[in-house]
Symmetry: C2
Subunit: 520 residues, 2 copies
């Protein structure tokens, strides 16, 4: 099994129906083995692809083939030409961005969804696709102890979107139209959207898409004093200033687990501010939200009950493959009012009975895949107990890495670690040859680099260190900048990662630091 060299049956697909069940079976087994073999040998590839721009054009023909080619040839090309151009997000040595956590169950769910290949735009087009989604979104919401008002069982409800940006577009369009119905459509240019300088860029993009005036998009500055969380006081000041200028506060995105350092905005106090101004609050928990199925992390979601919508990406840290962004809203009618269309060709008795959910009215697109299948398979295949343990094991590995950083006096932790993300850098002391005198193994988070001309040098050292590490291909990490500090981000969560990979990664960091620091 798994051999690409078998010539047997190579041309059997040429004259059969392109969905012939037996050909499906034969080729499907080949590809299962191909992917299983890929996972088995994944550590032999450089984690970050090392190809140069335009590499693939040189290797592929200029046009599609006129005649069919056998799967075996295609798989050989995948191996020879695609794999080198892949950055291996599933490698156990992948610690970049946030994880894109696969699992066997998530993969199988995607297979079943593709196999049925139904287009579940409304209930009638495939009742199971709609009903399973509503059911698993309530299951998952209960696991997260979301307030009942976000669940179908409490007159709210959940929907699977592709990504956070799509979820934000839907929530923002709903908020926009609600507001404009009150103040008049001609005032669209007065609406203001709020986030912090740590909020994901998806907020800005959603704001651009739904027609918010670009000058009315606010990124409120955060500071080290709040661990770069959005301050309710700063929000209030900004809102007041906007209102004085004749503008209308519309939408706040609070984040649970920011992109750079996974900090958590104070949800309760932010919602309290927003409610005074009739704003829609969305909580973006794209990465860290999943952790809240563990009781010890649930407190990070305290205050979510004041929000209007909440989303997390199950494809980040919850074992479904891309894409599976879970969005819950308190008032589904607000989505439906803005996103519903009911053309003649979709008219049907079930919709008219008002007994069913038609998810087309909860999202941008009409067509939709059967994505709940993979969430259902993940929940059932692993169960709540194991899912908690998987997440805890990632947090534990992050703690181990944090400990290793703490033991090397040349390095420092840059921001408090809440989940499975460690933010660290070569410390100024290491370059100043003061490492031995300044360090005591229990130092505070590093000092503010603002205004320090020295910070240019230290940032540059860390940038070079990261480039050197990633160029090696042994591990892959990415960077962040907060408060002027360039740092390395070590995000644990690739499913295959185990403790020995953490030790290896740290060894790689140290070796490259040895090389870089010798020059300073």
């Amino acid at each position: 099994m798994g051999s690409l060299n078998s010539q047997e049956n190579i041309s059997s697909n040429l004259f059969t129906n392109p969905l012939d069940p037996e050909e499906f079976r034969r080729q499907g087994h080949l590809v299962i083995d191909f992917i299983a073999d890929y996972y088995k040998s994944i550590e032999k590839y450089p984690v970050l692809s090392q190809v140069q721009p335009g590499y693939l054009k040189k290797r592929l023909p200029d046009s599609a083939p006129y005649n069919p080619e056998p799967l075996e040839t295609i798989l050989q090309d995948v191996q020879d030409h695609i794999v080198p151009g892949i950055t291996h997000w599933q490698s156990p040595n992948y610690f970049a961005y946030f994880p894109s956590s696969s699992s066997v169950a998530g993969f199988l769910g995607e297979m079943l969804s593709s196999g049925f290949n139904v287009v579940g735009f409304n209930w009638m087009s495939s009742p199971a696709a709609t009903e399973l989604e509503s059911i698993v979104m309530d299951w998952f919401g209960n696991m997260l102890e979301l307030p009942k008002s976000f669940l179908f069982s409490g007159n709210g409800g959940g929907v699977i979107q592709g990504t956070t940006c799509e979820a934000l577009v839907c929530a923002m369009v709903a908020a926009r139209d609600q507001k404009l119905r009150k103040i008049g459509r001609e005032n669209i240019g007065k609406l203001v959207v709020y986030g912090s300088d740590q909020t994901h860029s998806a907020l800005q993009k959603a704001s651009q898409i739904v027609g918010i005036h670009p000058e009315n998009f606010r990124t409120i500055e955060t500071t080290r004093s709040t661990s770069f969380a959005l301050s309710p006081e700063s929000l209030k000041v900004t809102i007041h200033s906007d209102i004085e200028a004749g503008l209308v506060p519309l939408f706040l995105c609070a984040t649970m687990g920011t992109t750079a350092i996974a900090t958590v905005d104070p949800l309760g106090p932010l919602c309290s501010v927003a409610v005074d101004y009739g704003m829609w609050v969305h909580v973006d928990a794209a990465y860290a939200g999943s952790a809240c199925i563990c009781p010890e992390f649930r407190h990070f979601l305290d205050g979510v009950e004041g929000a209007d919508s909440f989303s997390l990406n199950a494809h980040k840290w919850f074992f479904t493959t891309l894409d599976c962004c879970c969005l819950w809203v308190k008032n589904p009618n607000a989505l439906v009012s803005s996103l519903s269309t009911y053309p003649e060709f979709l008219r049907n008795k079930a919709t008219e009975s008002k007994q069913v959910v038609d998810y087309k009215d909860w999202q941008i697109a009409l067509s939709r895949r059967f994505r709940s299948m993979k969430l259902w398979l993940v929940l059932r295949s692993y169960g709540v107990a194991n899912l908690r343990n998987f997440l805890r094991s990632h947090v534990k590995m992050a703690k181990i890495f944090e400990g290793l950083v703490g033991m090397d006096k040349r390095f420092e932790i840059v921001a408090p670690r809440n989940f499975s993300l460690v933010c660290f850098r070569v410390s100024p002391a290491a370059i100043n040859n003061k490492a031995s005198s300044d360090q005591n193994g229990k130092r505070d988070y590093c000092c503010d680099a603002n205004g320090d001309e020295y910070s240019v040098v230290i940032n540059d050292v860390n940038r070079k260190l990261l480039e050197s590490i990633n160029g090696s291909g042994h591990v892959y990490m990415t960077h962040g900048v907060v408060g002027g500090l360039y740092m390395l981000r070590f995000a644990v969560g690739a499913t295959l990662t185990e403790e020995h990979h953490i030790a290896l990664a740290w060894k790689v960091v140290q070796e490259h630091a040895d090389q870089i620091l010798i020059k300073y």
Copy 2:
């Protein structure tokens, strides 16, 4: 293989890594067999699901399991509880809406995409994902003989979106911002979007999302005299009236293959009108565009050279599974200007070299799947020659069905058949007991029903006929209404459909007509 009863290894997944390669292999083979068996036996299920709203809640537990469950149990539940709630879009007896055409190659491409599970937001995050997409979009564009200005090789370019609505949102945001940069952001309330009463509802939805004033969305009436195609003269009149009212024409969506009857708007003349007013023209060829890889159908695209963007859904009639909407634009910079964000965490040398495409700036979402993999597999596995033949075989089957309708004097064809869609109905003559005298087997398309009180009855007969047919479960068709006429739509394109299914479908129609007409 394929047995769900094997107890062997049932608990082996409980203590292993959730992406363990050998467990992946074992379970992957099981699911391949499950899906192959499903295709093999697909004809035994009612095509349109016959369940009632709320059926699944009664069958599933109220919460996610605490402990893991074996795949074998889950697959048994898929069989027992999900399959009955599925409308079988892959059944050879599926003729509803437009097809959602699967293929072995499309499925395998999705598997590889899910297997690698890379998040290809920019070039660097997985160069192969970006480069393969650019390459296959040029391949496909060449197969369609798109003007070079839509291809990367001609300074345009293609991108794979999820759906037409997403493609329209992107194109419309680009058009909106281009226009507002000229006339001032404060004029957003003056922008007007144009389609016809046959344009897909995705246009209205996109328009709502990007902040076009709802009163500035125009659905221009079409008539039988143009086979319900959008008349350039009507467009011009509408535009003039808007300009006189102080509004600003922004965006026109022309359709190649409308939803109800697959008519083709006159692309060239419409583009000529639009260019005079500086409007963006999008051509939506969601269903019928694929046919243009056959030289004999390419003329339907004549005039596309005047458009700014063009899209078709490869997941409809081009053998990729959901979702794979191919969008080509002449001016990618217009998309990038509106959709680009460049936060710190995504900064990288490749982007800064300006030698690469970062597809995140061509779409709504940041994250994106490796969807080009399935288009590549479809193109290579079948080759241009076979792909043409597959599409031709569907058209041929539609012709056969059309012929069968023509031979039964109780029925009439309601609109000219261009592709693989046949629109027909029980004719007024059949009810009037005039069938034998009125019919000569070569009659024109039916008379206009407007103003005819008789049309209420005839529409009702056809509605009952469709309900009766779909209630049988033997085949599934949907309806359309144009010019007041209720008609049955018979869309050929499910991959498994062969000629004997056409004969069977017609027999089902006749039998149900026998039953219905007896009452009239």
